[in-house]
Symmetry: D5
Subunit: 92 residues, 10 copies
């Protein structure tokens, strides 16, 4: 099943720059794993902030939560999740 996931990251203002870089690199690596596995079907950055919108594939909301919670930035992000239905334009 497909989900629309909008992720907004709020890093604490006093975060150490090295820790910030380490977190962002770990996040990117985990994101690439999820993309390679077909979980993150597509993803775009929203310009001007630490935020993205993606189409995720998961069996259900329980699996999806586990996948989002596996992101290294999980303690610093909020994900808005919407379940997606097929649209008749695409033959659904």
């Amino acid at each position: 099943m497909r989900f629309h996931v909008r992720i907004t990251v709020s890093l604490p203002p006093g975060l150490d720059p090295a820790e910030r870089d380490r977190l962002l690199a770990a996040e990117l690596a985990r994101g690439r794993e999820l993309h390679a596995a077909g979980t993150i079907v597509d993803i775009w950055r929203l310009p001007g902030r630490l935020a993205n919108v993606g189409i995720w594939e998961a069996a259900d909301a329980t699996e999806l939560h586990g996948l989002i919670a596996s992101l290294p930035l999980f303690p610093y992000l909020v994900a808005d999740v919407e379940a997606l239905a097929r649209h008749p334009i695409t033959g659904g």
Copy 2:
């Protein structure tokens, strides 16, 4: 360039049912044309309301506006448009 377009339709409460059906059919036909032309790259219905979220391809916001305005339901909809940037997860 890719755009994230969220469309919410508000049909007037007193709309004649036959006109409603005609409008929805015309909307679907135009949507399929835009999908076949590669303008609507992907689209999903948001369950429980007349609303959808799609990824659109257009040269710029001027062309995008013309394409959205070509929808038969344009007088009855609001489209929230966000310009999308490549995300490094996808190699951007």
Copy 3:
């Protein structure tokens, strides 16, 4: 899969009272069918307005949309849908 569905009804102010009664009766009958079928697992009224919150069971968001769209009041309602994950309290 379980969904959290919050439905708010907005009947047009000039609606004929007989038509209003007919619509509400049809809505109740369809709701009871969905409850008997196990689609509406549980449902409560939010006091003071035409609104309810329910737990729905559907294979996915596409099926759920079809079920909500089958309600006689569908042209007059907005449904806010949230996909639900199991909570570890309940053994999930």
Copy 4:
């Protein structure tokens, strides 16, 4: 009487990871007690964040407040409470 309770947790960004784990474990244990006692009738996680939605049973709002305040995460959460009325679909 039944209540609809939506709980959103905001842990402070600088929280020590061990304290975080201890708090989440204590919260889960207390939640299971309340579930076993019939206070938390049902509960689901909202995917993508530290949030849940539950149906709680309490004599009144005074008792309900005491039960929510007994959660170890109470200093870090906000609970949105709605009193629920029976819906005629369920024979009410």
Copy 5:
């Protein structure tokens, strides 16, 4: 049990003035009945609009919904209901 009820009335713009007067008079009469019966414990008008805030007494949310729905203006109002807990200041 006590409830905090905030009622906002939206009369349709084209409402006939005589019908408007009749509705407001019927609303006032029904409100006085509820006040005399101890259901509306206290009520104040919010200045500058057709709105009020009141403290209502009802066995539970189901009874409360029936009482609010008995108001002649029910088709034209939205009631925001909050269940109230005793505050320790008042000895609770």
Copy 6:
């Protein structure tokens, strides 16, 4: 004159527990004084959070501000104040 006062408290996440207890006790003591003096006419807790709604009596908004500012938790709270008018239901 009567005022509707909704108070929401946000204690800083890192507050020392002993200081937290001391502040809440001082707040309760001051609240009881204001209640005994007839300033806080009635007050209820909103379940699930550090928040309350009350009916306050003060000569005017200037006096009311001084009374709210006398609360020990004043640096940590926001009060939403609404001036109340008599409602014709209560003979006004």
Copy 7:
């Protein structure tokens, strides 16, 4: 006592232009009466819409409501009222 009153007017879209002109003229005349009487102490238009913000003088919120309700546009406006306290800058 002083009140801060923000008034937003929403004329129905289908309003007859002559009736619109008549209403606006009556509103202006009544506003000038209230200004001459010292009720509307000061008032400014918010540019770009039918809206204004004013400082009103009234004994209390009950009197204020009556004064606002005396405006010919009362059925088509919403007034947001805030009770004002003296500020120490002005010697209060």
Copy 8:
């Protein structure tokens, strides 16, 4: 003085198509006059809806209101106005 003006148009759903075309043409003509006169310094359409954002020049807010009110669509629009200050980047 420069103002930031965001205009959102809401045409009534039942508007006659010929009247709609006439209004939009008159609006465009008036807009071109204001652009030629230097009042509308720059203006862009927000894609996907009847809305625009512009930089306007006017002596003050009183003159600005008169200019916006001269638009044929004024009864059907809301303009959000923000006064602009020079930014030091541009030498201000």
Copy 9:
């Protein structure tokens, strides 16, 4: 030109009380200077919080920004500014 300025102050929760007192005293002194100079034409406190609403006089938004930025609490406040137009009630 007149501006409507609503100022909300958010002092950091951990602020040293002596520093808090010093800042508030400096703010009051600067406010009195601006009032004596005719910049702050009138100002009221909004009861129940550190907030005020005032009518300011400045040549334009650039000058106004400089005046607001001269407040000692500027790092801790947000000012909502609205340009004011004359209202025909006051002869404008």
Copy 10:
């Protein structure tokens, strides 16, 4: 392509004043570079807060994000980006 960019800066309350001055100076210098390069076509300060609104030129949203992320204040700001379409008033 043109973008409408609204930037709001939130400096952490405990920021060292010297670091604050250094950051603001670096931000101004980088802003002037972007202005000289034609990236920031025009920009204005919103009075009363650390915020601005600007018209930016970039090939697409990906390039725009890189440009905004090059600002020294990027960790402390949120940018709201809107893609702009030509308006027929300007001959588009």
